[in-house]
Amino acid sequence: MDPDVQESAETQQSGSALVTAVSCHDIFDLSACQTDSSPLAKGAAFSFINAVQAVNQRLVKHNANEMLRFEVILLGKDCEEQIKSKIFDSAKHYGLKIGKFYFCSRGEFVRTLQANNAKLFLSTDRDDVYGALKAGVPAALLCQQADQQVQEQLKVLFSGDLIGLSEDVIDGLKDFGFSAVQIQNFKAAKGCIQEFAALIGEMRKRFGCKDSPLQTILITVLGSRDVCATALKTLRGWGLDVDEAFCLAGAPRNPILTTIQPHILWDDGLHNMKGVLPLMDMSS
């Protein structure tokens, strides 16, 4: 199938926009598709779009000519013809400001991302995320929100292990039971994160400490406090001063993540670990 492109009137000047590609499956529920003209039901991560649009609104409020905004494009893999138009209509129905829609085959989606200079690809599907990362496209997990209605801030979560652990330590991760695939994914993510962090950092600076529609968070799960400090300083060097920081030292991350409720989660791929982990340090 050739890549299909539909552009709506919402297309903005790409330039310095943060082009964010999101999977259709996450925004709309494509499983229960009616043949009538009713719009698609909201998907698992629909609220993300609202949060992003709220950020854009505030950015424009500060500066009507703001170029650094989120530009959301929707990516549909292996979609049938009737679904395509349903997606297009549903987006309009919900008032989503989506610039472009790309429909392609499963095998093409990474190339489609690259061709459109996507600065970030978001999906709830881990395999898709890693596929993009391996090809050098910055990608992160899109998380389902517990409460789809209440949307105060767009929360972007960075992994302190990803940013703070050095390359030589990463290779040694296999001693801790991590697979070669996981280590590969880790390295791929580490390679892509800087540009995205810098863009988010710049965007975050447009707002003050309080009442920001965008909240940046760092979470270190395996690394020691020094790894966390390194991550904080590294991010600062890239132009991002995070708002919140958590250091877990091996504690289960689910309870903390559930309290934070992030939208975007930079996954380091080191999950599903059972048992007690020793602390990872960088010091000699």
Partner: protein, 383 residues
């Protein structure tokens, strides 16, 4: 820059551990995260995580799972002295405050009121690790602050400077830390902010507001000493209510009549229980006499009369307290000065202030009727 060659601990059956020590009654002790956050969406795939190879840990420091440990959450304002910075925040606002912190990033903070307590907890941990190297029943200290992460580097530098064993923290960037207290299965929360402490108490988490003593008396470096007031701290405030509403005689009458009825539990009962469990671990290995944890009851009740009900209640709860001091209304200050606890919990600000004046590290538990009817200074009641 190489990894510490610490070997991984053998996975243990969670049911083999004794019941977890959470004060909020939560009894989940699962080792595995059944539903990963952000998992389970999209097409189902077989789990790609590796099977852990079971190896024994030797001499490595590992950090316990929160639900298995006695988790103490401390805020940065009680662990360290941050008066100067606090002033900048109050007078010039948050942006200036953050700028100030970043400019002074390499200057460590001085120790605050909770510092000796935290050091003592670490001493106990060291002893516990010697005796039970594989156990997760330890003190787990978490720094919980609603500071912005910009202050993070300074806090970490300070922790490094003082050589503290704190690897876990939450900097919530202005949002309420209460949700995180629950996520950490917090057994005790210490803060400088009375409002946050009250919020925590309302959620069933033992909590107290700490104050910096003007003069600092030396406390033990080998033994953790924790002192508790009785009513409205270990016990409920029911007797306190009778006293405030109907006076001393009615109080005595009530206590006599109800001598064999157990008092209801107060907000710090769970914490005393947690301490008792750890004490028993030392006793089990023959360390009763030199146990590094010692607990005290310092109450205005009288030994001969109203104190009996308190003792019976503690006994019925299966709680041993090492020393019970019935002051029969005498001032608590001098007694506390002799005990030199690392922390003393009282529900009445009057007592807390008195203790702090004499150099005792005291913490206010804003619970019960005493908050509505503060004690008038100068009156002395024998209970």
């Amino acid at each position: 820059m190489s990894l510490d060659p610490v070997k991984v601990m053998k996975g243990q059956d969670p049911m083999a551990l004794s019941s977890p020590l959470a004060s909020n009654g939560d009894s989940k002790a699962s080792w595995e995260e059944s539903e990963g956050f952000c998992d389970g969406l999209g097409p189902k795939k077989p789990k790609s995580g590796p099977v852990r190879r079971a190896r024994k840990v030797e001499g490595g420091i590992f950090f316990p799972k929160p639900e298995n440990a006695v988790t103490i959450a401390v805020s940065s304002r009680v662990l360290f002295r941050t008066e100067k910075e606090q002033k900048v925040f109050e007078e010039k606002g948050v942006e200036e405050y953050i700028k100030y912190q970043m400019e002074h990033e390499n200057e460590p903070f001085a120790p605050g009121p909770a510092f000796p307590f935290v050091k003592a907890l670490e001493t106990v941990n060291a002893r516990l690790r010697e005796l039970y190297p594989d156990s997760e029943e330890l003190f787990d200290i978490v720094l919980v602050t609603y500071n912005h992460a910009h202050v993070g580097v300074r806090l970490i530098n300070t922790i490094n400077h003082h050589n503290l064993f704190i690897e876990r923290f939450c900097m919530t960037g202005g949002s309420s830390p209460i949700g995180y207290l629950k996520a950490w299965h917090t057994n005790l929360y210490l803060s400088a902010d009375a409002e946050k402490v009250q919020e925590a108490l309302a959620q069933g988490i033992a909590a107290a507001t700490m104050f910096m003593p003007e003069k600092q008396i030396e406390v033990s470096e080998t033994q953790l000493r924790v002192a508790f007031d009785g009513d409205a701290v270990l016990f409920s405030d029911e007797s306190e209510r009778i006293f405030k509403a109907h006076g001393l005689d009615k109080f005595f009458e009530h206590e006599r009549e109800n001598e064999n009825t157990l008092l209801d539990h107060g907000p710090l009962k769970g914490f005393l229980e947690a301490l008792g469990k750890l004490q028993k671990k030392f006793y089990a290995k023959g360390h009763r006499l030199d146990c590094p944890i010692r607990t005290y009851l310092v109450t205005a009740r009288s030994a001969a009369s109203s104190g009996i009900r308190a003792l019976k209640t503690l006994r019925a709860w299966g709680l041993e307290i090492d020393e019970a001091l019935f002051l029969a209304g005498a001032p608590k200050g001098p007694m506390l000065e002799k005990i030199r606890p690392h922390i003393y919990f009282d529900d009445q600000m009057f007592h807390v202030e008195g203790a702090v004046e004499m150099g005792t590290i005291a913490a206010h538990v804003p619970y019960g009727i005493a908050q509505k009817y503060p004690h008038k200074k100068g009156t002395n009641f024998a209970k």
